[in-house]
Symmetry: C3
Subunit: 269 residues, 3 copies
Amino acid sequence: MEEFDCRAFLEDRLRWVAARKPLVHHITNYVVKNETANATLCLGALPVMAHALEEVEEMASQAGALLINMGTPYPDLEKAMLAAGRAANRAGVPVVFDPVGAGATSYRTRLARKLVEEIRFAVVRGNAAEMAVLAGMEAEIRGVESISTGGDAEAVARSAASRLGCVAAVTGKVDVISDGSRVLHVGNGHHMLAKVTGTGCMATTCIAVMASAGEPFLEAAAAALALFGLAGERAAEVAGERPGSFHVELYNALYELSTRLDLEGLRVT
Amino acid sequence: MEEFDCRAFLEDRLRWVAARKPLVHHITNYVVKNETANATLCLGALPVMAHALEEVEEMASQAGALLINMGTPYPDLEKAMLAAGRAANRAGVPVVFDPVGAGATSYRTRLARKLVEEIRFAVVRGNAAEMAVLAGMEAEIRGVESISTGGDAEAVARSAASRLGCVAAVTGKVDVISDGSRVLHVGNGHHMLAKVTGTGCMATTCIAVMASAGEPFLEAAAAALALFGLAGERAAEVAGERPGSFHVELYNALYELSTRLDLEGLRVT
Amino acid sequence: MEEFDCRAFLEDRLRWVAARKPLVHHITNYVVKNETANATLCLGALPVMAHALEEVEEMASQAGALLINMGTPYPDLEKAMLAAGRAANRAGVPVVFDPVGAGATSYRTRLARKLVEEIRFAVVRGNAAEMAVLAGMEAEIRGVESISTGGDAEAVARSAASRLGCVAAVTGKVDVISDGSRVLHVGNGHHMLAKVTGTGCMATTCIAVMASAGEPFLEAAAAALALFGLAGERAAEVAGERPGSFHVELYNALYELSTRLDLEGLRVT
């Protein structure tokens, strides 16, 4: 296996995104709609938020990627997610899933499992507990925060990828991304990312933008997480331990990285 | 026709708003509720967000203006929009409409057309494609982004205004505002406004605030867009090509313009 | 009665929160979900937003505190609020209520009254008009803004506390907190807090975080409001009359106060 040249891969994808401005259809939670739309714009793509059953199939079919995030689940949203996911699958549009809070309540666990059964995902990204729940492993989660899991992140990623038949991205101190056989590790990131809500959701948005250019999804997911983690590092250089400023600088850094392609410091192995 | 003295008009309206603190009732999308509420406060008005059928008529009737934005449409919201719009019409409260994504899906197109048929709007603001769709012209739209239209912005604005029987504001590089016979052009604005989500929605909020003082709505809409565009220019002077900082500075600039009435640089013809 | 040492109390509670990271379950409005989640994180607690009837009882039962905010009320939300509140009551989880806009429409007034009848609250926080409405007094409110009440803040707080059988926090220039017999006054705050939407909601979030450590709720509410007001003062020192920057600095200040425990300037009597 050749080594993965993350920087060259990212440069290609970011140039592709800048040229095509892919539409990224989000069906996401009510906490991060504005934030993930802004992250999408920072990367050069176009966000659209639409969750009415009346329009999600039409919107998803014309999108470059569909992102489903179950952070604030609701029965009506569930129907829209299923319809949009199936329409995207039929149209060959990559679908990315963020199973926020799987394991926190039995409703979320059931919903997450139903979605991975009914929709063919390109990438599923979650914290270790959420991904362990989807892999059928033990996990402890409180609210939407991972507390502990029955295995290490690599075991969880491999197991989730095999079980779900897609790329599994387990994010944490080190992000572990696997397609079931290969595994990539991303060392980029910063502890201040945990002090701003929705940064996990934004990471998934980055994956959806990178996946809109098509396969390979293992590399696309790893590159997206490395880019997002690097943006976190750059933001912290400016903002330090100030979460309000860090949040602002995170968009600045994502935009600067995406437009200037000044990608020193990626740590993917 | 006298020339429009935008600066004097804006000074008058901003003083009126500061003195009266009009309530601006928003029925808007889930992406920009916080952002448009903050824009309303920056201008000196009071925002209220309410979308339950159980209360929208009562809220709209006591408001200074009602803003309907269909950025994340939903069947229940549709009923609330119709009820609120009719109640505002009965009470003589100006109603402003932002047809986000009209043309992007058949659901949004139908909804936008229904709203303009059933509600008497003071001003409708959209991008060229959205407004062309409402004017019955050709247009290409992807998600909520205008790609192309069958005519230039002025033709779209005139045609939309005539067809809808209200002031039509077509925003883009130059904003074109028409009541069907007269046309005003606003040259203020900045390309960074396209790098932050919801700036179109905030522009519509500015129109609603300015329209709360009553007719003439052509001038009110043009003045509001000039003010918002000028705020974008001022924000970019401080923030440059940094979308996170630009977003923050946009509120600072709106507030400073509204409170200090330091309105140099308006470009309305 | 001993004098209340607010600083020592806050230091204890903030250390407790930092060690335990209590989960604060919010059922809140669509305007401030992101902002109150970030305020929760700044204080060292973990936010979770969940409003589906299918999961709110399970989520509320495992939380450190439940916050119910009716800023954008809706019939479905009402059911979720009632179910979550009762579940929290059964589990001994403190419940905090923010009756946003009570008095502004008859729907909100009915809803607020129903919630205080059916749920046992630890603390209810609102502006003078909202609290007067709950206390059965005269009040004038426009949208979600208090205009005037039939009594002064202290009379409203005492009366609301007695009638509701819980701690009542009436916020304004000076915040007045009462359990019906004792009264505390908080002098911290800044006029720029009124220029950013959702700061009242964030204040209630601070109360919920402080209440998650249990009784005494009178002191917990006063300490939370003093902390939040002090954060506003600190933010204004950096940001001045710039609402965008003030909003950013407010998170910075909350985080710095909570992590460094540098609590000079609390004004509670």
